[in-house]
Symmetry: C3
Subunit: 159 residues, 3 copies
């Protein structure tokens, strides 16, 4: 490559990626989902601190909490909600980036990203507040979005 081309690259590359249809929305949803997932983690800490329990001796000493061998059921519930996030969100975000980079149809991407993000936010609230059928319903909607992404990716890479 000529030096002139190399000089031109640094500025060109990021504009190139920002121009991918759906990339900006994808990035926004990724930020929201990672912060939401982190929020569920903080809620675990808050629940433990409200119940004044700790699993690590050094935390029990530090926060003047009771040392427990097993988690309180309220903490267990938040941990299950969080674990479900871990099972779902990283995989979805990786597939989302692949779909954007592979040039999936922008309308399909937009629907998937917006619906998935909204569904997973409601899901977390529904899990922590024990609201059924909201929890199952939003889980199902998010799953459909994930499968739609898979189909869009397969169409692009196999065509």
């Amino acid at each position: 490559m000529a030096p002139a081309m190399n000089d031109f690259l640094p500025q060109m590359t990021s504009d190139l990626v920002l121009a991918f249809p759906g990339f900006r929305l994808y990035a926004l949803c990724a930020v929201i989902l990672v912060i939401k997932m982190f929020g569920v983690g903080l809620y675990t800490v808050r629940t433990r601190s409200r119940l004044k329990v700790a699993l690590n001796p050094e935390d029990a000493a530090r926060f003047n909490a009771q040392l427990a061998a097993t988690e309180h059921p309220d903490v267990e519930r938040v941990l299950r909600a969080h674990r479900n996030d871990l099972e779902n969100i990283p995989g979805f975000l990786i597939l989302g980036l692949i779909a954007v980079l592979a040039g999936a149809p922008v309308l399909g991407l937009q629907i998937c990203f917006i619906v998935y993000t909204a569904a997973r936010v409601v899901y977390s609230v529904a899990y922590v507040k024990a609201m059924q059928p909201w929890r199952s319903m939003t889980f199902g909607i998010a799953t459909l979005c994930m499968f739609a992404l898979c189909v869009m990716i397969l169409i692009r890479i196999l065509s």
Copy 2:
């Protein structure tokens, strides 16, 4: 950038990424692995429903299942298999995308992606069915693929 260049970008970008050696195979393996990981999650639900146990009171009421304080050993086994997926697959998929984008040798990428995907599918079956030494063997093979990806990435970025 000139307007003419900007108009040209949207069509160019996705073809550009699809032209990365190994990208299509990477995307296919990512779809398979995310769906497989999701399948292990569904198997947890199926196992709980077969045993008629639930950990959330609202689920026990809804599915007429028995409320349990701790998981049944059969469910615990599937949860451990699933957790191992969470510990392995997202990290591998991120490294895989980095390796593709960094321009790692295409043959190395192809071997890593195909062998890893096959090994992790067999691993899940072997874990759930308690088949040793298959479980340890496929875990080891998948680990080698992950380290091979790391080496290929380091060679590209440090050269």
Copy 3:
């Protein structure tokens, strides 16, 4: 696209990505973090083997270990350290790649990647060795890096 352009693509693409400011450092940190995360997993295996306990009957038989219904507190600690990695690192790595591709300021990226990686390595050691306030402090520093990435992404995509 003309054939001549297509011929030119394979060589161009990876150089293009390697030229993204911050990409090489991002890739290096991703390799370090995934291997570190894997190392915590290996430490779980080592701790179980030191205590001569196993949760799967087939492992108890194979390694001549005692079959336990629940994990030993020492194993539980490593599992919590590992789970915290799973809650943090994949999300950070996805945001990191988005920030690089979106063209976030290179100095900001460099600080985030180096500080986050160092903080998470120290965090794991501090968790396993029960060293407070090191554990909380490094967790907090890594969290700040994650939020800084979010801000840099939002500035780029909303501008």
